[in-house]
């Protein structure tokens, strides 16, 4: 990045400082700025080093060890923890659960979010109020919300049983049946996070120039065709952004699962992040937890890199 500084005598270009003229004062000034820069950045950098970068290195080391986090001896076991994961039925289940949860939670959040955004983009009164209501659950504690929904899913006295009763369907025992627990978690997750997608989509819709629609109208395009040929393409960059951030967020969804099902029943809601926690802090098996954490990290990294790739293309394209 090239930036011109205050007196135009010193220029930083690609990280190198070029001093034009040899005013000693300006060099002194520059050095003073370097010191100030370091001082301003230092706390942040030290914290990142201690609690973000170093732990990543440490995590790799832990993943090659067998350790109960108490004994002074850490046993080096090479790749045994990874072999364990490859063979472990539970871990396979965890990966399938993670895929199921991610696809469903992201898909429904984005789809419903888009529909809500399209609606709130109409000239309706109170739509800002509605936007606030829809967005509110995003900001509420997942732990507390999970408890509220556990009550809602109570098969006999819950709100869900009541609503299903209106259409004469009897409520399943949501949180205690392996086939219903994950749908229940997904419902809660979508309820809580759909508002984020809606708000971002809405901002995207409002940024679409009106004359594009007018032009399409002149061409005789009907509502559906205008949606297909103007709205969707204009929304695609923001949809992509939402898709990626939503996927990354679902990978980190922990509090709802911990509170509502603790990964159960019979591992039916055990996802990667929950497995990492469970292996580490329930089974006190640092090595396996670290190995699973690395799998989680690599997955997220791949998705982030794909996004960066596409974002770059978008810049060229736009």
């Amino acid at each position: 990045m090239a930036s011109t500084t205050r007196r135009d005598q010193v220029t930083t270009y690609r990280g190198q400082t070029v001093v034009r003229g040899s005013s000693r004062r300006s060099r002194l000034d520059a050095q003073r700025e370097w010191v100030l820069f370091i001082l301003f950045m230092l706390p942040n950098m030290v914290l990142f080093g201690l609690f973000t970068f170093w732990p990543m290195v440490e995590n790799v080391r832990l993943s090659t060890q067998r350790w109960d986090m108490i004994s002074p001896v850490r046993l080096d076991v090479g790749l045994d923890n990874y072999r364990y994961l490859i063979d472990d039925e539970t871990f396979h289940r965890v990966l399938r659960n993670t895929a199921y949860f991610t696809v469903a939670a992201v898909g429904f959040s984005l789809l419903i979010g888009l529909i809500v955004a399209l609606l709130l983009n109409q000239p309706l009164k109170f739509r800002n109020g509605a936007r606030a209501v829809v967005f509110a659950p995003t900001l509420l504690s997942g732990a507390a919300i999970g408890i509220v929904w556990s009550y809602i899913f109570d098969p006999r006295y819950g709100l869900m049983a009541q609503v299903l009763g209106w259409v004469s369907v009897s409520s399943p025992d949501w949180l205690n049946r392996p086939e219903w627990a994950m749908p229940a978690i997904i419902i809660v997750y979508v309820w809580k996070n759909m508002g984020f997608a809606a708000v971002i989509f809405l901002a995207g819709l409002q940024a679409i120039p009106r004359d594009l629609y007018d032009a399409a109208k002149v061409d005789g395009a009907n509502v559906w065709w205008r949606f297909r040929s103007v709205t969707l393409p204009m929304l695609s960059p923001i949809s992509f952004f939402l898709l990626v951030t939503s996927i990354l967020n679902t990978f980190q969804a922990f509090d709802i699962i911990r509170v509502m099902t603790q990964g159960g029943p019979v591992d039916s809601t055990n996802t990667l992040i929950y497995y990492v926690y469970d292996q580490g802090f329930t089974y006190i098996n640092a090595g396996r937890s670290a190995a699973a954490a690395l799998v989680l990290f690599v997955l997220m990294m791949v998705i982030t890199l794909v996004q960066l790739r596409f974002a770059e293309q978008r810049v060229h394209y736009g």
């Binding site: 930083t12 990280g15 301003f40 507390a144 009550y151 309820w191 992040i273 997220m300």
Partner: protein, 288 residues
């Protein structure tokens, strides 16, 4: 006749729009109402089917019972301490870092940029175990006592910030050049410029990021769950979940009253600040 039916169609669409909007607000709001009405129900009312939508005799004592059956005053205190300290550190780090990136000369700025970007890609959830080991064994080896179950351990891993630094740098760069130059002409140093010129002008973005940070810290769950061990160190989110583990689903009225403790402060704050948060988030998404 054509015009009339067009007008008719327009009204029909409008009515459908309002209906759909009301439905969405209802679906989103109903669980929150269920929590509030549940918190005011007696056990008898809880176990009535079909349920009452509005409790007939609001049982306010659920709140007293909840408050007394776990140290919620302590949970509140812990949440306030860790949220305020954590967010203050985050906002300070973001502001200083953004100022440095935007206005200060430094030969290795690119490297700093790359480090921040890399940090952005490592989510805190992936590093809980090694961080736990750090506060347990490493700190113990260094100073002879473990920091597990302390405030500093809850706060420190969340005190560094990459997203906020980028967000603020972007907004600092958009500040009017003339005002900054005028400060320089007046002989203001960088600290003065930051404090007297940049901070007042950039207040909206600082408030927005501060709010996002406060919400995240208040709701944080996994790390406080792992790093706290005794009841008196638990934050509200961890405290409520262990309270629920104990009470189970027998005392829904009292449990709902307890969840109100956690959610109510944020709901109240949200009513006043939702516009800042939504605008902050959407501007980040649409411009980025």
């Amino acid at each position: 006749m054509g015009r009339l039916s067009q007008e008719h169609q327009r009204r029909l669409n409008l009515a459908a729009g309002y209906l759909a909007m009301a439905l969405i607000v209802l679906v989103v709001g109903l669980p929150v109402w269920w929590m509030i009405s549940g918190s005011l129900k007696t056990s008898r009312e809880i176990y009535t089917f079909p349920p009452d939508w509005i409790p007939r005799n609001p049982r306010w004592s659920n709140f007293r019972d909840a408050w007394q059956s776990a140290p919620f005053d302590r949970f509140y205190l812990n949440s306030i301490i860790t949220t305020v300290a954590g967010s203050a550190l985050e906002v300070t780090n973001a502001t200083l870092g953004a100022y440095a990136l935007a206005f200060l000369r430094f030969p290795f700025k690119n490297v700093v940029f790359a480090i921040l970007l890399a940090a952005l890609m490592i989510p805190g959830q992936v590093t809980i175990l090694p961080n736990y080991v750090f506060f347990g064994s490493t700190v113990y080896d260094l100073i002879g006592q473990s920091w597990v179950n302390t405030y500093q351990a809850i706060i420190l891993p969340g005190a560094s910030v990459a997203f906020g630094t980028f967000l603020m740098r972007q907004s600092f760069l958009g500040l009017p050049r003339e005002v900054l130059d005028a400060a320089k002409v007046d002989g203001a140093g960088h600290l003065r410029t930051l404090w007297d010129v940049v901070l007042p002008m950039a207040r909206p973005v600082i408030v927005t990021f501060g709010l996002i940070s406060v919400v995240a810290k208040w709701n944080d769950y996994l790390w406080p769950l792992v790093i706290t061990q005794t009841e008196n160190m638990r934050t509200l989110t961890v405290g409520i979940s262990s309270f629920y583990d104990l009470e189970g689903n027998t005392q829904w009225g009292v449990v709902m009253a307890a969840t109100v403790f956690v959610i109510f402060p944020l709901l109240v704050v949200f009513v006043f600040v939702q516009r800042f948060i939504i605008e902050g988030l959407t501007s980040g998404a649409t411009k980025g």
